[in-house]
């Protein structure tokens, strides 16, 4: 069984986000970009599934600017077999992104299409299930672990209070969260081999966005807090403040 993993290039989580003067985006200088952390889980899941099956290939698919090629190479270095980059500028409209990705996936007969549960820039948690709808395939979200056997994927979903077990008939779609999968590190050999793996670049399908970004702002600064005191002696005063000043107890 072949698997496609959709991956997004996002600012590293440790990056300080500085808003551009016109509020229309973030300043690019000094921003380090990485594969979204949850997409790394999805890549790891795909690699483990083809390894367990002893056959099958993993394709990485991304929609983004040309620099995304670098992100895709890092995924190829982990063991993915090929990559496709749909060049363009995705915005916050996940529905537009979903249509771009689905137009590429419509041709694919891969048994599984995997996503991260969310991309850590826009945090929308929507592209995976939207692509599933467009492809008319079943979709399990928040999958912490999955196994495939005889055309059926058994997924353990991380839900409130525990794990829900669902079965899907292939072909199917899943969004992966942290659970069984610990992303591997690229080996030197992997990095060398990645340079020779196919990475196809083509313009993304044209879709119209339904959203307009009016502007970015910083969240209001939290008012300067205070140290109530030291050790257990400060506890009565803290409780009093929580009750009388903050009114939360």
């Amino acid at each position: 069984m072949n698997i496609t993993v959709c991956v997004k290039r996002v600012p590293d989580t440790a990056t300080r986000i500085r808003i551009a003067e016109d509020g229309g985006g973030i300043m690019q200088d000094g921003v380090k970009y990485v594969m979204s952390p949850y997409d790394e889980f999805a890549v790891e899941a795909a690699l483990q599934l083809v390894e367990a099956a002893g056959q099958g290939e993993v394709t990485l698919l991304s929609y983004g600017p040309r620099a995304t090629g670098e992100t895709l190479r890092s995924g190829l270095a982990l063991g993915a077999h090929r990559a496709v980059l749909l060049t363009g500028e995705p915005d916050m409209d996940g529905w537009a992104t979903a249509r771009v990705l689905a137009s590429e996936l419509a041709e694919s007969d891969d048994g599984l299409v995997l996503f991260g549960i969310k991309a850590v820039d826009d945090d929308q948690q929507q592209v995976g299930p939207m692509v599933a709808e467009l492809l008319g395939r079943p979709c399990a979200t928040a999958v912490a672990a999955m196994d495939v056997d005889g055309g059926v994927a058994t997924c353990r979903r991380a839900v409130e209070g525990g794990q829900e077990v669902v079965e899907m008939d292939l072909p199917a779609v899943a969004t992966v969260t942290k659970g069984r999968y610990e992303p591997r590190y690229a080996s030197l050999r992997g990095i060398m081999m990645a340079k020779r793996k196919p990475l196809v670049e083509k313009p993304a399908a044209e879709v119209e966005s339904g959203l307009v970004l009016e502007g970015l702002t910083y969240p209001a600064d939290r008012p300067q807090g205070r140290i109530v005191g030291e050790g257990t002696e400060a506890v009565p005063e803290l409780v009093r403040l929580l009750r009388e000043e903050a009114k939360v107890l």
Binding site: T13, R16, I17, I19, P37, M92, G94, W95, A98, V120, D121, D123, Q126, P129, E133, G136, R137, P138, C139, T154, A158, E160, G161, G162, Q163, E164, V165, V166, E167, M168, D169, K178, G210, L211, V212, L213, E214, G215, L216, T217, Y218, P219, R222, P223, G225, I227, V228, G229, E230, G231, T232, A234, V235, P236, L238, V239, L242, A246, V248, L249
Partner: protein, 321 residues
């Protein structure tokens, strides 16, 4: 003029309290659009949902048997198509996040998730939502109707806008695609209340030293009542001390409780990303220079193993338990 659909949340047949926030947000939008508020309720919680009239619902539409996510999505999309709602409001909870994008795709509409504020401008929805894990806020306009959004729990005030509610049974759902079967559920040892929905969160960090010590935080949580839940830093989750479901931060849950306790957590940027919009933040850390004190409203410099039990005892005393 357009009506607004609020998608209520029901768990095991019980109407969830976040539904009140969803209806309140829908009421605000409907008032600006000059329309009514319909509430979609799955399963047999219609009677309970009638209580949502208190918060501005005009009509409750019961959708029979719509428990599984793909069936619920089909049902909600069908309702919106039939009634021509101008906006649809979901809760950005686990179930809400699962169903909303499916509905959006069926309606070929964009979806704004995790919204923390919303207004109507020129008949269009303009929503504010955190991006880059809360390091910035984006104001985004949805063009065209219907506009779909999910609201972050604990952010929207519950409205007091009582009115008569009609309860109707909506048409049952036509067959959905299938190929998706729920086989079972395994409860984890943790509490049932999800950290992202709790109104009080008690989070523990690496300074707790050992998973065996968590009874101290469990006791504090219990003292705070049944709207409190446990959270954790990533260091603790990576060490295998606590489940990932409890992780707060950029690669965990984003939480907005009214009260957040950071117990022996240093306050790394990725942790702050997940909790800095909490109402009131309390930090206990033995290092007076820990960055967590930079965002905390109230801090105690001290040993968590002494302060946490004293705090639990003082809260119990206050509550007369």
């Amino acid at each position: 003029m357009a009506d607004v659909l609020a998608v209520a949340e029901v768990k095991d047949g019980v109407l969830q309290s976040v539904s009140r926030e969803v209806v309140s947000a829908a009421r605000g939008i409907a008032d600006s659009l000059g329309g009514a508020v319909d509430v979609a309720v799955a399963g047999d919680a219609g009677a309970a949902a009638a209580g949502l009239g208190q918060h501005g619902a005009d009509r409750v539409l019961e959708v029979e048997g719509a428990v599984r996510v793909d069936v619920r999505a089909a049902a909600v999309a069908e309702l919106v198509r039939a009634q021509g709602h101008g906006a649809v409001v979901f809760a950005a909870t686990g179930p809400g996040r699962d169903v909303a994008p499916r509905v959006a795709a069926k309606l070929a509409s964009p979806l704004l998730t995790d919204v923390v504020a919303v207004d109507v401008d020129g008949g269009e929805i303009v929503a504010t939502r955190p991006v880059f894990a809360g390091k910035a806020l984006a104001r985004v306009r949805a063009r065209g109707a219907p506009a779909l959004l999910s609201i972050r729990p604990n952010v929207f005030a519950v409205a007091d806008a009582p009115r008569e509610v009609k309860v109707e049974v909506a048409a049952s759902v036509s067959e959905v695609g299938g190929g998706y079967r729920v086989k079972g559920f395994e409860a984890s040892s943790g509490a049932a209340l999800d950290v992202s929905e709790a109104s009080i969160v008690v989070s523990g960090g690496r300074g707790m030293k050992d998973p065996e010590n968590w009874h101290i935080l469990e006791d504090l949580r219990d003292a705070l009542g049944d709207t409190a839940a446990l959270g954790a830093s990533r260091a603790v989750v990576d060490a295998g001390w606590r489940p990932h479901a409890e992780q707060v931060g950029q690669t965990g849950k984003t939480v907005t409780p009214k009260l957040y306790f950071a117990m022996a957590i240093s306050g790394a940027i990725q942790h702050l990303a997940g909790m800095r919009t909490s109402g009131v933040i309390v930090a206990v850390n033995r290092d007076a220079d820990a960055p967590i004190f930079g965002v905390a409203d109230y801090g105690i410099v001290g040993d968590v193993f002494e302060v946490a039990p004293a705090l639990a005892a003082a809260i119990r005393e206050l509550r007369g338990q």
